[in-house]
Amino acid sequence: MSLGPAEVGKIAHLARLAIREQDVPAYARNLSAILELVEQMNAVDTSGVAPLANPLDMAQRLRADEVTETDQRAHFQAIAPRVEAGLYLVPKVIE
């Protein structure tokens, strides 16, 4: 499958990535080449093959819904771009 500039723009929007206009053709070219590579999969009939998500075919372990972590809010917020009174400060444009 070959992707054109419009499709790249649509995917970039879904991925929330601002791609500069001048970079779009190169991404379209690279992405099309990658899709061409991955479409080699179509040469194999996989009907009836169960998809493998976890390589050990294991289900994810669940844990009891209990509080196990201590409060480290101040420690974790120390790396935030901006905080005040325990809250994350974001630019005013976010309502």
Binding site: Y27, L35, V38, E39, T46, N54, P55, L56, Q60
Partner: protein, 484 residues
Amino acid sequence: MHDKTIAQLSAGLAAGEFSSEELTRALLERIEQFNPSLNAFITVTDEAALSQARAADQRRRQGQAEPLTGVPIAQKDIFCTDGVRTSCGSRMLDRFIAPYNATVVDKLNAAGMVMLGKTNMDEFAMGSSNETSFYGPVRNPWDLDAVPGGSSGGSAAAVAARLAPGATGTDTGGSIRQPAALCGITGIKPTYGRVSRWGMIAYASSLDQGGPFARTAEDCALLLGAMAGFDPRDSTSVNQPVPDYVAALDQPLTGVKIGLPKEYFGDGLDGSVAHVVEAAITEYQALGAQIVEVSLPNSRLAIPAYYVIAPAECSSNLARFDGVRYGHRCDQPKDLLDLYTRSRAEGFGAEVTRRILVGTFALSAGYYDAYYLKAQQIRRLISEDFQRVFAQVDVIAGPTSPTVAFNLGEKVDDPITMYLSDIYTIAVNLAGLPGLSLPVGFVGQRPVGLQLIGNYFAEERLLNAAHRYQQATDWHRRTPTAFA
């Protein structure tokens, strides 16, 4: 001291020949001297290292030293280190000071190891040459014009140049084995679930696995023993006891069956690399192993399936970088969408962007079945190929990489050609199997690696097979001249 293996350093520390502080100072001096030409470290934690070294010496005086106590190590900058910048090779995390330690870091600290610093890597572990790092490429100690491989290129280069006796790495499609091969050292990617992924920044969660680099299989056995184990904080961690990897090293290889997949010796394999790998196989025959030809018929589909699954998982994992809670935030966003899209575009480099876009496309409405589901079905076929072969053989062997290290800049503008560097390593991640690369010779100045693949949790067997080879040969003792 810098040319000693971890096992030798451990013995030297135990015998009181030198202290951890002396050893750590010597290596920090080497890092200061050589890192400018290699760019293997993003951050050097010299003060913390010296303080850890003094604590290790103290612990030894108190009679509480373990084999790794006081031995220095370099951590790939993908492992969160409390209070130390953890950049993952990205502008996005250039100013991210991790607020906690990865389990691997905690475990190595508990063993008394001394962290020298954080090593350079491809951005978010996406790359095979270390050229996608925000901090610039790492150079290969064997030839400064060559790449060290990736994504754990800084770790591999640091060990090869004798700046650290061991290092951690992560391997999603070959990121431990391929740089180990290109830098002439030993590295093992354990079975998926063997080493905790907690605090290891996620790229593709169903493929990512941490493991060690060192010069010898014996050292890798020591390090893996300290890194592995069940972690309730990683939901895919496997609750299975960790064997004594060192105890198994010396078993004879008599009668061990080694399978050579014919698909790993076909078109695409450089002739001179093939020659070196064949000589290593002959050595294994001399060690008593029985060589049989096997087939992994779906091998050619590994790269196509990987370049759907890994980007799909990465597009989901990297969605957390939104410019709000941590990581890079753009200046003066005009609205919420602008905040997201510009923060992400400014924070991520081209390869990461490409993979997020491919993954977003593969998971988008209307394409999921044709790409993601199809890739997962192919993944099962690849996994079943391996199980059929492991019914006949104990170990699979072949080249780690189709060529020796290529030149810096040679493939950087051509993603597809770059992806093909991992043609022999990717299937192992898709199946979740353990794989090891060990040095077995050179083509010109540049090292060649042999890959050994084992069945689930057969790390002991791989380390044993590599150790026996290293007892009989000296490729692993070769040192790049400029760093002797």
